[in-house]
Each structure stands twice: as structure tokens, then as C-alpha cells.
């Protein structure tokens, strides 16, 4: 049983990695501009925001849920961050404030789902609108821009030659990986997604942990808002529109099962990179913008389909 599960997980992750490598190889053949250090760093930098949002999405989807509110939570956290920075709060405190807001709104999602027994789809759909409305109200619809170089360094700085957003993203992945695979909370997330009833009967406080999962998702969206605000030197109330779809796509391309109980952060990172590489490659090739959308859709479907076939073959 555990061996079968092991190979299955391996097949899933391996499928995604092979797909990414194949894509890279293809682009290397098609354009001389793809496989350069500058471009690869460029892709990773562009992937950072989606990758960070997708961390939270991975937790949520493994737990058997879905979070449609991440884009809006990103926007409201960004607005809070921008306001705090404009009020001359030190960067770390402003950042913690923004993450706190994302976390609390995420917890609100969790409370509605775990205690109110609302379907995650409905609760987070509602929150998507609530948080977006709040962000628009708070800013009167206008972007807030112009921050100190100390803050912008989060996007423009380098650590040992590597752009700061990449370093931060990798640190976030490392931390989230340790939590998901090394803590009791992490095990419960898988348990709840795999079989909620059994998990509850074995004495796990399911509702508490479920609530925390959405808190993680909100906090991840808020961290992404910090990266985005630094990158554009602007916080926009309409930021993050449709980001939930990108995050879900990255998660499922990475082999996390929408039915819960199964998945990995490593897979999600590969999934986010796949989408980043694809968009980058299509730009480099000068492919028409309309065709790009079509191609991306096909790749998402193919990735999950191949994944499913591999999985069935092994099982």
C-alpha cells in the first residue's frame, strides 16, 4: 500500500518535472534567447508571485478545499502594506501588518468553512468579492505608489547575484515544506483531505486545523502582495485579478489532486515554473497573444491528463 502510494506520488512529480524539462528543451531549440542566465533568472523572478500564492493554494487543495479569494486577499494586503509604508512605518512592521491582514481574512474564510459548514467554493467566492470591494473602498479605486528604495530592494535587490524575489520564494518554499512534511499540522492537512471523517474520529481537531489552512493561504497571498507591490512600486486595488486561477493551475500541474489528500509543494513549484517558462517562451518566440492563451490552456489540460494516465498506469 505505502509502496504503491510512493510510486504514485513519484509518478506524479516525475511527470511534471519531465514536462518542464521537455518544454525547456523545446524552447532551447526554437529560440537562442531562452537558455541564457539572464533569461532564466528573469523567468524565475516572474514566477515568484504566482509561486508564493500557490503555496497557500497547495495547502488548501491538499486539505480537500479550494480558495478563490487569494487574488483579492493579495490586493487588500497590498493596500494595507502601501498605507503603512506611506505612514512611514518601518518595512518589517508594515510587512508583518500586511501578512496579518491576509492571515486574518484567510482565517475568516476558514471559520465560515469549518464552523459555518459553508462549501469552500462559496465562502471564498464571497470573500473574493468582499476583499476586492474593501480594497477598492479603501483606495477609492486608485493605485498607491512611490515607495522608498529600502522597500523596493525586495524586488530590485540581489543576494549573491540572485534577484531577491527568487531567494525569498525559495526560503518560503523551504519553510512551507518543512511545515507540511515535518509537523503534526502538515500531517493533519493530508489527513483531512484524504478522509476527513476518519481524521476526526482519530481525535484530530479537524475544524481548528481546517481554519488554519485557510489562514496559511491568506498569509501566502499577503506575502505575494509584498513582492508585487515592490515590483511595480505600486499597490493596486485591482491587483491579483484572476491570480487564483494561475495558482490553481500551478498546483494541479504540479500533481496535487483536486480531490484532496495528495500533493506536494515541490510539484507546485515545478507547476508555477512551467507556466512561467511557457509565457516567457511564447513572448520570446513572438507568438500572437491570442494563441498564447490557447496554448497555455492546452498545456494545463495536457499536464493533468498525462499525470492522470501515469498515475493509473502505476496504480
Amino acid at each position: 500500500m505505502s509502496r504503491a502510494l510512493g510510486t504514485r506520488v513519484f509518478a506524479r512529480r516525475f511527470g511534471a518535472t519531465a514536462g518542464l524539462l521537455l518544454l525547456c528543451a523545446l524552447l532551447w531549440i526554437l529560440t537562442p534567447y531562452f537558455l541564457t542566465v539572464a533569461n532564466l533568472l528573469n523567468v524565475m523572478e516572474q514566477t515568484a508571485i504566482n509561486a508564493v500564492v500557490a503555496v497557500g493554494m497547495t495547502y488548501v487543495i491538499i486539505s480537500g478545499g479550494i480558495d478563490l479569494s487569494v487574488g483579492s486577499l493579495l490586493a487588500i494586503s497590498g493596500v494595507v502594506l502601501a498605507r503603512a509604508l506611506k505612514a512611514e512605518w518601518p518595512v518589517p512592521i508594515a510587512a508583518v501588518g500586511a501578512i496579518g491582514v491576509g492571515w486574518l481574512l484567510g482565517l475568516a474564510n476558514g471559520v465560515g468553512i469549518a464552523l459555518g459548514r459553508l462549501p469552500p467554493f462559496i465562502m471564498t467566492l464571497g470573500m473574493m468579492s468582499v476583499a476586492r470591494g474593501a480594497a477598492l473602498l479603501a483606495t477609492d479605486g486608485r493605485p498607491i505608489s512611490g515607495f522608498d528604495a529600502a522597500f523596493r530592494a525586495l524586488a530590485t535587490g540581489h543576494v549573491a547575484g540572485v534577484p531577491a524575489p527568487i531567494v525569498l520564494t525559495l526560503l518560503i518554499y523551504l519553510l512551507s515544506y518543512l511545515v507540511l512534511s515535518g509537523t503534526r499540522f502538515g500531517r493533519y492537512v493530508y489527513g483531512i483531505g484524504g478522509n476527513e471523517e476518519a481524521t476526526r474520529l482519530s481525535g484530530v481537531p479537524v475544524r481548528f486545523h481546517k481554519t488554519m489552512v485557510y489562514g496559511v493561504s491568506g498569509a501566502a497571498a499577503a506575502v505575494a502582495s509584498i513582492l508585487l507591490t515592490a515590483r511595480l512600486n505600486t499597490a493596486q486595488p485591482i491587483a491579483g485579478t484572476n491570480y487564483e486561477l494561475d495558482a490553481i493551475a500551478a498546483t494541479v500541474i504540479g500533481g496535487t489532486s483536486l480531490s484532496g489528500g495528495e500533493g506536494s509543494l515541490a510539484g507546485t513549484l515545478i507547476g508555477a515554473l512551467t507556466m512561467g517558462v511557457l509565457r516567457n517562451g511564447l513572448n520570446l518566440l513572438g507568438v500572437s497573444s491570442f494563441l498564447q492563451q490557447l496554448v497555455i490552456g492546452v498545456v494545463i489540460i495536457m499536464a493533468v491528463l498525462v499525470d492522470r494516465l501515469l498515475k493509473e498506469k502505476r496504480a
Partner: protein
Amino acid sequence: MRRTVVAIVCLVIACGCNRGGSATGSATSRPRIALVLKTLNNPFFNDMQRGAQQAADRLGVELVVQAAERETDVERQMQIVENLIQSGVQALALTPSGSKEVVPAVVKANRASIPVVIVDTRLDTGAAAEAGVKTASFIGSDNYEGGRTAARFVVDESKGTANVAILEGIPGHETGDSRMRGFKDGIAASPGVRIVASQTANWERDQGFNVFQNMLQAHPEIDTVFACNDMMALGAIEAIRAAGQAGKIRVVGFDAVDDARKAIREGTMAASVAQFPDEMGRIAIENAVKTLRGEAVQPDVKVRIELVNKGEK
């Protein structure tokens, strides 16, 4: 299975090695210029693309056109600019999705020594100055003057008494703000022309419908609509029809897109301010090419605007 995949990967890599040498040498000697639009699902930008393409063909340059899926997706637009920088374009013509947000992207182009021509929407002067960005040229309609033109039309047609509703663009967008400022300044000297309601419909047709329907509920005295673009004006026209007031409310739009011209011919729309996006596209490419050749270009090009109403077109 695993072995097959590995084999395919090896094969592809082998192909890559073969192609590697020729790929770098295959770049054409014609200069490559990129035009980054806000979106391609808007006739305005399609016209701009056409004008740019004609200029590129005439001048013998290769034109790459890219756009984000959504008009307001500044992050995606920034990615496109970064990717084009990597792909070695020699000059960049850009229609900013956000006046402030796009500044970091222009900084990156500057750093890569790629000359930048801004089209249609001006960069925010404060943000641009603070970041120290350099642009070769700006090409756009005089939106402020367009707003004044629309106001003059309303004042003349209404003989100086009107209750006006304004449908604004997305707040904080320079284009819509200038049009509205021009309109307000244009009616300032006519105290009988009053603004009774002013709200955003985010440039969109369906929102224009809903927002105007609500306005009409709250202010039945409205007899004139100024919409900062035609999409919202066309939405308002549907709302007017639904309210059974067709022909009783004067609708003035902006852009003179095909649907708006049709509505003007049919009499459901009073007028629209025409811009000439194809000229913008043409001049953008011409100026980009001149900059590449080291020739001087006009830093601020104002493309003509024109009021279209039933009598004239």
C-alpha cells in the same frame, strides 16, 4: 516508461546541440522593434497595430506585437517587457496599462539601453521623474482637448442648459482623468450645464449599462451623458432603451469606434470624439526607427482629434 521519457529528453537535447550554432546566427539583420499594447481585444488597439505594421513594412523593420490578456494587467505587461528585453529587441513602443505601475518596466528597458517610445497613455510624471526614466517620445491624443470638444458640443446642442451624467474610466487612469477634466473645464463657463451624477463604469460596456441604469433611477432629470469611452456610452444607450427613453437623452462618447459611428448614424448616440490610433501606431514606429538611427524626434507628439456627429460623418 521512465526510460522512454529520458530517451525523449536526450533526443531533444541532442537536437538542441545541432541547432545551437545556427540559431544565434539566424537573427535577421533588420532591426526588431516591439509594440506592447494594453490589449488586442479592443478595436482601438487593433487600429494602432495596423498603423504600426504599415509603418514597419514601409521602413523595413521587423515588428513584434504583444499584449496582456486583460487591459489592466500591469504585472503581465511588465513580464512581457522583460521577456522582450531578453529577446533582444532594439526599440520598444509601449502603451502603459498603468501610468505609474509600468515605470519599473521602463527602468529595465533603460538599463538594457533600449529606447522607449510611449504611446496613448502618458507615464506619471512624478513616478517617472523619481525613477529617472528616459523616454524618447510620447505619442498620444490630446485627451484633455477631446474632453473640451465634447463639452463644447454639449453646451451648443443644449443651448446652455443640461443635466449631465458622467461615466468615468477606471479611477487613476490618466486617459480618463484628462478627458473628464477637459469636459468639466469645458462646461465651467456655462452655469446651466450641471453635472448631477458621476461614477466609474471601468471602461466596460456591461458596467456602463448597469451604472447608468442606476443613475437614471436616482436622477430622472438626466438629459445628457458624457462617457469617457464609447464602450460605456454604448452600455448607457442600452440602459436608455430599456428604460423606454430612447432618443430623449443625449449620449456623447469618446473614441468613435465602429459601433459608436453606427449608433450615431441611427440616431441613438449624439456624438463621439474620434481619435486616430492608426496614426499613433505609425508615428510610434517612425519615431522608434529615427531614435535607432540617432536622429532627433519630437518628444511630445499630439495626434489630432475630431468630433463625429450625425451631420458630419
